[in-house]
Symmetry: C2
Subunit: 93 residues, 2 copies
Amino acid sequence: MAEDNVIYVGDKKPMNYVLATITQFNEEDSDEVILKARGGAISTAVDAAEITRNRFLTEVDIQDITTKTEELEDEEGGTSNVSAIEITLGMSE
Amino acid sequence: MAEDNVIYVGDKKPMNYVLATITQFNEEDSDEVILKARGGAISTAVDAAEITRNRFLTEVDIQDITTKTEELEDEEGGTSNVSAIEITLGMSE
């Protein structure tokens, strides 16, 4: 799920990603964690970021949010567009 | 759905909100439109913003994205938290 300080948010419950984020900050000693999600998981990523900073790591803040459109290839070789979000969490100055 | 230049994104399809955004820019002559959404509709708001700027109003850009946690009262008087997003679309300089 985590690659360096990137956490890919999928279709699990938000708390799974809250835990992964806390682990990344505390045990991996990252000072920045990026939550990445696509499509319907975008809402879960926002939930995870909000829960993390409001209830668990109050010294962490949302430092940047960017969105983009990614092109995915389906099995038949066709392509479809999907929205994606990147939420950067970091220690507030 | 629109109040001044604010569009509340709910559980309709993204294209409904893309149309509302285009109308707000073109017919209401707004130079800034804010998409607001909560919970699961957050993904729809991101879709609407991305579709609008990539396929319809290419001169419009995402100028700001903020998230927050809102407290909602349920029927029994209890409260629950929900994540919310605000996406500001504006004419790119």
